[in-house]
Point group: D2
Chain length 169, copies 4
C-alpha cells in the first residue's frame, strides 16, 4: 500500500519541539502551500497542512527554520483519533515527514532575523556555518549535525505529555 506526500511551502509559525518521556524529539509544524489556481473571487488560497517529524530532523528543523521559512517535505499521510477534552472523538490527519529540506529561511534575503538560532545580523555572522542561507545548500536536515545552541527551550529537553505510542519505529 503506497502512501507518499511531497510538499513545498512556508511554515505558518515556528516549529514546536517537544520530547517524549523517553527523550525522543518530535516537532510539530504547519506548512502553508499556495494553491496553483484562484478561487471564484479571483483570490489565491492556501492549504495549511499539519506535519510531524521525529528525532534528529525534528531538532534540526526547530533550530534552523522559523515562521515564514520555505521548506520541502517528503513523507506520508497519517490519520489518528483520540478522546477530545469534551469527551468526543477527534479525528486528525497529518503528514509524518521522513525528511525535510531547508529551502529558504525567512529573512534570508533581507538580512532579517534568520531563524531563532541567532540574534546577530546575518551579515556579520562569522560562524562559517550558515544553514539558513538557501543559496548555500538546500541541504536535508537528516544529515546535519546538531549544532550547539543557547536556545533554552531546546537545551532543557524537558519531557512533555507525549506517548511513545506515536513513534513510528
Amino acid at each position: 500500500m503506497l502512501n507518499r506526500v511531497v510538499l513545498v511551502g512556508r511554515l505558518t509559525k515556528d516549529p514546536e519541539l517537544r520530547y517524549t518521556p523517553n527523550g525522543v524529539a518530535v516537532a510539530n509544524f504547519t506548512v502553508a502551500v499556495n494553491r496553483p489556481f484562484s478561487n471564484q473571487q479571483g483570490e489565491r488560497e492556501a492549504d495549511f497542512i499539519n506535519c510531524v517529524i521525529w528525532r534528529r530532523p525534528a531538532e534540526n528543523l526547530a533550530n534552523y527554520m522559523s515562521k515564514g521559512s520555505m521548506i520541502g517535505v517528503d513523507g506520508r499521510i497519517q490519520t489518528r483519533n483520540f478522546e477530545g477534552q469534551d469527551g468526543k472523538r477527534v479525528f486528525m490527519t497529518e503528514v509524518v515527514a521522513d525528511s525535510v529540506q531547508f529551502l529558504e529561511s525567512r529573512g534570508s534575503n533581507q538580512g532579517g532575523q534568520p531563524g531563532r538560532t541567532s540574534n546577530q545580523s546575518q551579515q556579520t555572522n562569522q560562524s562559517g556555518f550558515q544553514p539558513q542561507q538557501s543559496n548555500q545548500s538546500g541541504f536535508q536536515s537528516q544529515q546535519d549535525a546538531k549544532p550547539k545552541s543557547d536556545n533554552p527551550f531546546e537545551d532543557s529537553g524537558e519531557p512533555v505529555d507525549l506517548s511513545d505510542d506515536d513513534l513510528p519505529f
Copy 2:
C-alpha cells in the same frame, strides 16, 4: 509551492456520489492504506484517508469501485474549515484526487459481487466490458466513457446541498 500525494489502498466503503446544484458530480471516499510497519503491539495499523474527486472521474469511481476495491490515487492535500453543527469551527484535511486508478475491485478474484454495477455472476457476464477486472487494464477513470447503468442512485443525479465554491476550477 508543491503539493502532491500518491496513495494505493482499499475503499473502506462505497464511494458517495453527489451533484452540486449546478449538476457537477463529486464523489467522496475513504482509502485505507496499511502502514508498512507494525506498532508496539506487533499489529499492522492503517491510515484512513478521506478523498474527493470531481466530475467524470467521480462518476466512474462510483460506477466501478465499491467497498474493498483497491485503487490508486494521484492528487493533492486540501484543507478546509467550516461551521460545525454545534457552531464550532471544524477543520478538515482531505485529498483532492486528480485521477484514480482502478487496481482491483472487491471480489474480482473470488467471483463475488463485483462492485454495485451488476448482480449477475462475473463468470457469466457477457458485456465484454469488465472494468472491475484488474488484470485487464488498471485503466484510469479519466479516460473511461460513462457506461449505461441502471443504477438508480447515479441516474437520479439529484442535487444536494453542495456549494460550487468547493469546485477547484
Copy 3:
C-alpha cells in the same frame, strides 16, 4: 533537494536478481506504465522504466513477482554513466526503489503460472502461503520473510561483476 518517484505498472520481464561480490542482493527490473492519454494515432503508449532494488526486497521481488505482475514502486531517480563496451560513455537513468508493493502477480486471475516460484496450478497449491494473490494483501516486500525456494538461480547466489560502489548505503 527532493527526488521522489511513485510508479504503478507491470513487469516487462522477470526481475534479474544478482549478488555483488560482497553478497549483497540487487535486482533489476523494468516497469511498463501505460500513459493516461492516446497519441495522435489514437494508440495508448507506455513508458518502460528501468528500476533497481537492493537487499532483501530484491530477493522478495524476484521470488514473488514475474513478467506481467503489477507492482507499485516508491523510490528516487538515479543517473549514472559508465564506459560502454565500445569505449563510449553511456548515460543511464533508472529508478532506485526504496520499496515495492506487490499488487497482482501475473496469472493471479487466470490460474496461470503464478510467478516463477511454482509450476503447479494455483488452484491446487496447498502451501497456504500465496504471496502472489493480490487479493490477500498487497503487502510490501520489505516486511516479508524470504521463503524457502528451490529456484536454483536464487539459491546459487553466484557473485557477478557488480561493484559495491553502486550501493546506496
Copy 4:
C-alpha cells in the same frame, strides 16, 4: 497506472527553448539533485535528471530561470527511443514536467545576473515584477503571464526539427 515524479534541484545550464514546426514551445533542461547521502569516499553526489516542459510554462521557465536556479518539478517519467546518428537505437529517459515552481534564481542573494531576462542590476530594477526573487513568491510558471522580453532567441521563435509527435496532448 501511476507515474509521478517530484524533484527539487538546480538547473545545470540555461533551459533550451525551442518551437515545433507548429509553433508549440518546448524547453529542455537538466536538474541536478544532490543525493541525501555520501558515497564510500565520503562525497556527496548528485543526479542529473533530464526534463522537458511544453507550451507556456516552457517560455516562463526560459524567461525567468537560468543556470544555477533552484526549481521544483512535478511531472512523470517518459521513455523514448530514436535512431541515433550512428544508426543505433538510442533509449532515453526524461521527466515530462506538468508544472515547474521557481524557488530561487541564481544570483538572487548575491545581486548577480538574475536570469537572462535583464542585464541591469537587480538592485535598480524598476519593473515591479521580479519573478526571480524567491522570497517574493515561489509562484508556479503555469499561472504567469509571458512578459515582454527583448531576448532575440525567444522572440525569433524559429521552428526547429522537432516533431509534434512528441506532444503529450
